[in-house]
Amino acid sequence: MWEYLSDSFNWAGPEGIWARILEHIWYTFAALGISAAIALPVGLRIGHTRRWTFLAINLGNAARALPSLGLLMLAVLLTDQIGFLPVLIALVALGIPPILASTYAGLSGVDPATIDAARGMGMTGREILTKVEIPIAMPLIVSGLRAATLQIVSTATIAALVSLGGLGRYVVDGLKLRDFPQMFTGALLVALLAILLDVMFAVVGRAVVSAGLKD
């Protein structure tokens, strides 16, 4: 494995390690962005209005049972094409539930007395949402994004099965060629990327959580 990693030939070029890492990050953030764009507004709406709450709760639980590999294959066969679109669909389907569920959980955890107090001060519904509910729910919203990211970054690996790039290429190609050092390289890099993103979210979480909530 070290031979593979220390060979500079393997790092450069359009099929080099750097390119694969960038591809992997691109898939991850594209899917995360779309998931968040869908799940955050819906979760905020459910949490704020307290309507359709069963949807938010049950979706979060059911999604844990979804087999990611099956979802990917299903997306490929249903869209009848191979490439970025089915992978994106599968990754977004995995990303939405944790974000939706924890956004709702964050908002529903806000003390009703706090909301009453905000309303008593003359805040409008929108102000209550942006100035009271979202800041209080922030730790859980971030942890939902974090869970979705981990799920997506790890599933993006199997995107290589449907002939996409990313770090999964090393795993899939290595398996075909019985080139185990190459497989280890891919696996190790995915693990490192996952840990890196996790640390990043921990830092972001610290930065965006209101000082009033820290103990």
């Binding site: 990611s68 690996t157 185990f180």
Partner: protein, 219 residues
């Protein structure tokens, strides 16, 4: 539908493998996390590092673990042992937090009463602490069981994955039915396992039902 009828034997075989690969790690993980969690509550400086380390382990992508483990364990890449060990690692990394929280949820008065009536530490753990911790431990157990069942399929990428093999097969043959069958069975398996755990928890904590019953109205 004819495909299903023609392949019932194969589907059954893979369902059984899937169940085995998902449940064995839950049992092993429980057997490891309970003593580990117990030690962590006795030496409380251990608790936070253990939970944090578990968080890091849980963030490792399953496919990565399936492949890296053989190098560490000296097993073959295509051995089921890798899947079992990987999922056991996930189980422990998640359950350890619940075991510690559960054991900590035992009220001090209860623990002191147990000591006062002469329970030794082992007897107290089995008869007092663990039963009280059951709801918290089971909450974690339900999460890991469902997660394990969905994660086993990923093993199909390296050739061992229970129902996951239906996914790769369907993909290779450009044939939707096996994929749908695999997804549906995998979801059903998770649902049934979750229900069974709920039932088991109720059986293990008969007193919870008494508390949950509506209070008798006093005239």
């Amino acid at each position: 539908m004819t495909w299903v009828a023609d392949n019932l034997g194969l589907i059954w075989e893979q369902l059984r493998e899937h169940l085995y690969l998902a449940i064995l790690p839950v049992i092993l993980g429980l057997l490891i996390s309970v003593p580990l969690g117990y030690v962590a509550t006795r030496y409380s400086w251990l608790a936070n590092p253990l939970v944090a380390f578990g968080g890091v382990l849980y963030s490792l992508p399953s496919i990565a673990l399936f492949i890296v483990l053989p190098a560490i364990l000296g097993t073959k890449v295509l051995s089921t042992v890798n899947i079992v060990v990987a999922l056991t690692i996930y189980t422990v990394s998640l359950l350890i937090r619940n075991v510690i929280d559960g054991l900590r949820s035992v009220p001090v008065e209860v623990r002191q009463s147990a000591v006062a009536v002469g329970y030794g530490s082992m007897h107290r753990l089995m008869a007092i602490d663990l039963p009280i911790a059951v709801p918290v431990i089971f909450a974690g157990l339900r999460v890991v069981t469902v997660a394990n069942i969905s994660m086993v399929s990923v093993g199909a990428v390296i050739g061992i994955g229970g129902l996951g093999e239906l996914f790769t097969q369907g993909f290779q043959k450009d044939f939707l039915t096996p994929v749908v069958v695999g997804v549906v069975l995998s979801l059903l398996l998770a649902l049934v396992a979750d229900l069974l755990l709920v039932v088991l928890q109720r059986l293990l904590t008969p007193w919870a039902r008494v508390i949950a019953a509506p209070p008798v109205e006093v005239a």
